[in-house]
């Protein structure tokens, strides 16, 4: 983040409300614009706060990002602003990609996106001429049925401009949660072990089987078949939940998450959770999800635990215990270990105890990190000891004497040459129609966090932002007969919420914006579970709704 803020000549922010969602990084960008004269292009349907600092604000129609990006690349190619040397030396698939981009001339793109042609030219010039340009995005790009395609197309843009692997350039997804990067790195995904080692790769299975004391294939003990590691890709959260209804998922162990608030289509999620055989929830507060839990185990907050978080730039940092565990709550790692040990006690034939990492007896958190070091190439040299000694480490950091890697892909891409992917525009899954004429987008606000379990319990934050507000354009408000603040009812095919309207030109006409911080009016009552086919991410950013006065 530091290199981006310091060296980028221009920024292209698309689908990130940076100053509200990553506030401290947002201020770094503001400083770069104001004091260093960096140019800033923001593409967002909403007039979010960072647009105050933008050289140019593009207000594309929601769900037309690919058309916009392709349109910009068309102009870049037309004007010859691409980095041909980079394309020739470091990439492949350029011709096929170019053929696709050529289908997106400015007038056609303008029609699709609603952005005037001259703004497209202006944006392409800022992004194309100022090198390096850093591209930043967040959930505004990914929470679409075309989330993966959006991201790949931004990769195309940066390869086209030769902005990859350079300080101040690159593709910079801003990770939402404090340790979402770490949860992914640690194998909290259905297709990979730690450090993205594939669950379908026989060598990887062999490695983890040996380490954890399992057989790589099925084995018979006393007439019973013992299965080793599964080589089938597992289910994503967006597949597990509906899986409850047709008997595919029978139990869930949820650690510190609140799917009733954070998953799309709340009514459906509630219906699923009502049907589950057994739900274990490990939490710090009773939540909307705990209503459905069979067992509720009290974990601890970050102030009570020792360990590491990995931030959006792959920087691993210490979390240090400041206060004793509250009440009879327990360390989360202890709880997980206890459950593991107790399940294993009933199936002792499963694990061969002589294997180096078969055991669940950890002296403390740094012992867990030692095991991570041994099995996770990119974390090989990241120990608590080094971090406590003040070293600043970003993975990949394979060995104990490696200094870490602040910037990836400086010499070559992981796969060797960067591959251009031809990407076409696909319209969103649900579009406004006669019954539901408005478009709803969702997200968070500065003063609250996700499902709101923490921030709704912070007194001062509630004083500043104490209830759900529906952002609505003055034109729509006038049509509806709203006069100042009034309650509105927003209905979609899934559900209904009632909340105060905030009449503001932050949102364009025809669009409303709602958050999911408050259980009595959560936007996820309205959203739908149409998924990106690859990432299985729901299209939170676009639902069709109708708005009425209450």
């Amino acid at each position: 983040m530091d290199d981006v803020a310091k060296y980028a000549k221009a920024f292209f922010i698309i689908g990130s409300n940076t100053t509200e969602q990553h506030p401290v990084f947002g201020t770094m960008l503001r400083r770069a614009v104001k004091f260093r004269g960096a140019k800033l292009v923001v593409a967002d349907p909403r007039r979010i706060d960072i647009t105050d600092f933008a050289t140019l604000h593009l207000r594309q129609r929601p769900g037309t990002d690919i058309a916009l990006i392709n349109g910009l690349m068309y102009i870049i190619l037309e004007k010859g602003w691409q980095d041909q040397a980079f394309i020739d030396e470091r990439t492949e698939g350029f011709d096929e990609f170019k053929a696709t981009v050529m289908q997106y001339p400015p007038d056609k793109v303008s029609e699709t996106t609603g952005i005037p042609v001259e703004q497209l030219y202006e944006a392409a010039e800022i992004i194309g001429v100022n090198k390096p340009t850093a591209v930043m995005w967040a959930m505004g790009i990914t929470q679409h049925i075309v989330g993966v395609r959006n991201v790949m197309d931004l990769g195309n843009l940066q390869m086209l401009l030769g902005n990859m692997g350079k300080p101040g350039g690159g593709v910079n997804p801003l990770r939402g949660q404090n340790n979402v990067q770490g949860a992914c790195d640690m194998g909290g995904l259905p297709n990979v072990f730690t450090a993205y080692q594939s669950v379908t790769n026989p060598e990887v299975i062999e490695k983890f089987s040996k380490a954890w004391g399992l057989d790589s294939g099925p084995r018979t003990v006393d007439g019973k078949t013992v299965r080793g590691l599964s080589s089938t890709v597992g289910l994503t959260v967006t597949e597990m939940m509906p899986g409850i209804l047709y008997g595919r998922t029978h139990s869930l162990y949820i650690l510190g998450e609140d799917p009733v608030m954070s998953d799309p289509d709340t009514k459906h999620i509630r219906h699923c959770l009502e049907q589950i055989d057994f739900l274990l929830l490990q939490e710090i507060f009773p939540s909307e999800t705990s209503v459905y839990a069979d067992v509720l185990l009290p974990g601890v907050t970050f102030a009570e635990k020792t360990g590491t978080f990995t931030n959006t730039e792959r920087r691993v940092q210490m979390v240090r215990k400041a206060i004793p565990t509250q009440g009879d709550a327990r360390d989360d790692w202890w709880i997980i270990s206890q459950i593991a040990k107790r399940i294993l006690a009933g199936t002792s034939e499963r694990v061969q105890t002589e294997a180096p990492y078969s055991s669940w007896d950890y002296a403390d958190q740094s012992a867990i990190m030692s095991e991570i070091n041994a099995l996770t190439p990119s974390y090989g040299g990241i120990t608590h000891k080094r971090l406590e000694a003040g070293e600043r480490l970003q993975w990949p950091c394979p060995t104990a004497d490696h200094p870490g890697t602040p910037i990836l892909h400086t010499k070559q891409f992981t796969r060797g040459r960067g591959k251009f992917a031809p990407i076409d525009h696909v319209p969103p899954a649900e579009r406004p129609d006669d019954d539901y004429p408005m478009l709803l987008s969702t997200g968070r606000v500065l003063y609250h966090w996700h499902g709101g379990q923490m921030t709704r319990r912070a007194k001062g934050l509630m004083e500043v932002y104490g209830e759900a507000l529906i952002e609505m354009n003055p034109n729509d408000a006038e049509k509806l007969g709203l006069n100042g603040k009034n309650m509105v009812r927003v209905t979609s095919r899934r559900g209904m919420i009632e909340a105060q309207a905030w009449v503001t030109d932050r949102v364009p006409p025809g669009m409303v914006y709602a958050n999911f911080h408050f259980p009595n009016a959560s936007a996820n009552e309205l959203t739908h579970a149409s998924l990106d086919p690859v990432a299985k991410i729901p299209e939170y950013k676009i639902s069709a709704v109708k708005v009425e006065l209450v």
């Binding site: 401290v24 509720l296 102030a303 978080f309």
Partner: protein
């Protein structure tokens, strides 16, 4: 390189530097108050004055560039007397209430007054000039009586947060720091990041949430990483009597330095919220070995308030051993009945790497399924 002499000692320094930068590099102590390394120097408090040979007045070290042949005295009698007088002028308009002030012990004005043995002069102002706790911002306590007009808050808001909430109104004796055009902070578009508090050298701007809870020497500081977004800001948790009473910027934080946002700096009170779960709970049907009660249309799930189905869905607080044993048995049984792939694990982007690794190991090694995910998509 430029040749100059500080206190008679010959020194070489790069051109373009200020006197203060050179003295800092050479470990020569020059007191400062309005100066802060993160902010552009404004040279208005006159604490860092030094004597430059040939100069008509004393020069503020923080804004005076060096030149060839410059001769500087940093501790001459003239300099020390002048600094003491500056402090006395500040103290003349500063309440003599260190004994009840929240930042006593961390106050830069107090430290300098101590260093220079400066006391409030007999002719100093006696009453309060401004309302105490004058702004309704829920996080930031404003007491302009304690302000020494150093303008660090103005610079911090303009240069770090880039929000320009604070400004200077009026002139001379009436000069005062105000938000916006004399409005409230929030009306002046304050984002409540607390940067102004972090940079304030006195108790003029302090934190409402821990006001009166502890002074510097009564608390311990633990450096840790924020639990909100993915930027990875670090800060110090302030702890007194085993309770988190506040958050303070740690200037050595790798990503953010002194900067924090409203959630990171002021969103910590959930830690000691009375609703925290403090005991394991299980539904009564599990303790009684009965079947899970199902929604039959007459009964809907709620948080155990409903007593239909004979209270089988009520929460019962138990010991850890009971809750863990019930859980492990249930999981073992479900794996036995429906196979490992009938079980799902949602790990947490709020938890540590170590905990996430263990969830991955639990699902894969102990249970034998790859059904593990978290809220990265949500």
């Amino acid at each position: 390189m430029i040749n100059l002499k500080i206190n008679g000692q010959p020194i070489q320094a790069e051109p373009g530097k200020t006197i203060l930068q050179v003295t800092k590099e050479h470990g020569i102590h020059v007191p400062t108050l309005c100066y802060h390394k993160d902010l552009n120097p404004t040279g208005n408090c006159r604490m860092c004055v030094v004597e430059v040979k040939g100069g008509r007045f004393l020069s503020a070290a923080c804004v005076t560039p060096i030149w060839e042949g410059m001769e500087i005295q940093t501790q001459s009698e003239k300099v020390t007397k002048d600094r003491k007088l500056t402090l006395e002028l500040m103290l003349a308009n500063h309440p003599q209430d260190c004994i009840t002030c929240d930042v006593s012990g961390e106050c830069e004005l107090q430290d300098l007054a101590y260093e220079y043995k400066a006391a409030a002069p007999a002719w100093g102002s006696k009453g309060t000039r401004y309302p105490v706790d004058s702004d309704p911002n829920p996080f930031i306590r404003v007491d302009m009586n304690r302000c020494i007009l150093c303008r660090r808050c103005v610079s911090a808001c303009a240069e770090i947060q880039v929000r320009d909430v604070w400004g200077v109104a009026k002139r001379g004796f009436d000069e005062v720091i105000v938000p916006g055009a004399g409005t409230t902070m929030l009306e002046a578009r304050c984002e409540s990041c607390g940067q102004c508090v972090a940079y304030c050298p006195t108790g003029a701007l302090s934190n409402k949430m821990n006001y009166g809870k502890a002074r510097a020497h009564q608390m311990t500081k633990v450096t840790t990483t924020c639990s909100y977004c993915g930027v990875g800001c670090q800060f110090d948790l302030l702890v007194k009597n085993e309770k988190v009473i506040g958050v303070q910027s740690n200037p050595n934080a790798p990503v953010n330095g002194m900067a924090l946002c409203v959630k990171g700096r002021y969103g910590y009170d959930y830690i000691h919220h009375p609703e925290r779960l403090k005991k394991p709970k299980v539904r009564r049907y599990l303790l009684e070995g009965k079947k899970k009660p199902r929604d039959d249309g007459q009964w809907t799930m709620d948080n155990g308030q409903s007593s239909t189905v004979n209270g089988l869905w009520d929460w019962v607080e138990t010991e850890w051993d009971v809750a863990l044993e019930i859980t492990a048995k249930k999981f073992a049984q479900i794996r036995n009945d429906f196979g490992a792939d009938s079980m799902g694990f949602l790990t947490s982007a709020k938890c540590t790497n170590e905990e996430n690794y263990l969830m991955n190991k639990l699902a894969r090694q102990v249970v034998g399924t790859n059904n593990i995910d978290h809220c990265a998509r949500l």
